[in-house]
Symmetry: C2
Subunit: 221 residues, 2 copies
DNA sequence: CCTTATTCAGTGACAAGGTCACAGAACTTG
DNA sequence: CAAGTTCTGTGACCTTGTCACTGAATAAGG
């Protein structure tokens, strides 16, 4: 028996009839993980489907020579579709999902997932929507990496990372890993931003002192 | 009534019971399109699901300033999942699918598709497998573009484009659009390959004269 | 508290790839 | 065959990535 009714939380389950939801609450497990936990990865392919109840998961790809790129983030209320993809993939891939905060996940056995997809149209369209969303996310990543300028991408990402706040706690290396580039490149561009008065830097911390100007750069494409 | 039993052709339908297949043959349409036809695109979002009976579809993304990149190809017997994604996407995207040869497609109305996914596990897993496959394809593209060397990627692509043959009929611009780079870059690298005796070029034509050497380059990562 | 590691950021030189402008070669069409 | 179009080659320059190394900021240990 679960203490929380997680079926309230997901678009795909909140509209389901009570009996179905009760059944789900019985078959699914709730798991807590610490920040930094690897939800899935090349060596760690889960055999169940994962729904994120709370926290965020950062999905990134790693190159041979130590460079990373963030593909997208899974937010609370979303499903982690790459786990499905991983399960079906024979080919090698090198994406991994890391808990970016402490997280709470709902683990649904493959069989229950399958049954739910078959029987509940609401759940089915939730799953397809999530898949589509991720495909679109990846299209965006391809577009950025193949055709985007690094200063534009950096300005954009700084604004996203800051959210409503003016400060970001991140090293240059971490930001480089967001964008799939090298640390030196980020150092250079941040230095430039600082000289132009757009940001203030200190070790491991960036203050956005001119968000509108950054937004102008981010949108100049 | 359709002349051909296309349900033979797809992994997701060939195992279905006869009555279901007959029903499908009735509701689905068969369409022929000429090479170059745009199967889907930003301005052209189909409202049905598309399965490719014959030919190939090249799915590519276009940047603002005239550069392209090929994301993947849909081969006969596969479904074109991006159409589903496009249908669900509110956000802008700029991918398009172009018939790379004359093609024959099966057009399945959304409703029939939905019913089939609900009722037939075989079809369901076919659809999920296709989605996963595309996700993995895109992961590969991201990896190549973000971390790959252009000479390695070019050698690889030349071998793929040639297939069993030694000759490729393509302009430098077309190859650049495969890899998401500029024409001049391809011209330079091809020139280099030619000087090293790996290929012979003439206008619009490339002969791979040393496939093993190219393969060595392609695999040097 | 000071010393010593360790992590983080800055920098210059160079390589790789992308952009621009233009020239000449190879096909096509009238 | 002449004229136009498409394709390829090339040099100069800019952006981005790589390498090697430096010093600064912080953490850890005595």
């Amino acid at each position: 028996m679960n203490a929380i009714d997680w079926t309230e939380r997901f678009k795909g389950t909140m509209a389901l009839p009570r009996p179905v939801r009760d059944r789900l609450l019985n078959v699914a497990l709730i798991r807590d993980h610490k920040k930094g936990y690897q939800v899935f990865g090349p060596e760690n392919v889960p055999d169940s489907l994962i729904f994120l109840y709370d926290g965020t998961i950062r999905v990134s790809q790693t190159s041979g020579n130590g460079r990373d790129i963030v593909l997208y983030r899974v937010d609370a209320g979303e499903s982690c579709v790459l786990t499905t993809a991983c399960m079906l993939a024979e080919e090698a891939y090198n994406a991994e999902g890391i808990a970016e905060s402490d997280i709470k996940v709902v683990v649904l056995p493959k069989m229950s997932f399958d049954r739910l997809v078959a029987e509940e149209p609401a759940f089915r369209s939730f799953v397809f929507a999530t898949y589509s969303r991720r495909l679109i996310d990846l299209l965006r990543v391809v577009d950025d990496v193949a055709f985007g300028r690094i200063d534009v991408r950096l300005a954009e990402r700084l604004l996203v990372l800051a959210g409503g706040d003016r400060e970001i706690a991140a090293t240059h290396q971490e930001i480089a890993s967001e964008l799939g580039t090298a640390r030196e490149v980020i150092s250079r561009v941040l230095h430039d931003f600082q000289e132009r008065g757009l940001i203030v830097q200190s070790r491991g911390r960036i203050t956005l002192s001119a968000k509108p100007a950054l937004r102008a750069i981010a949108e100049s494409d």
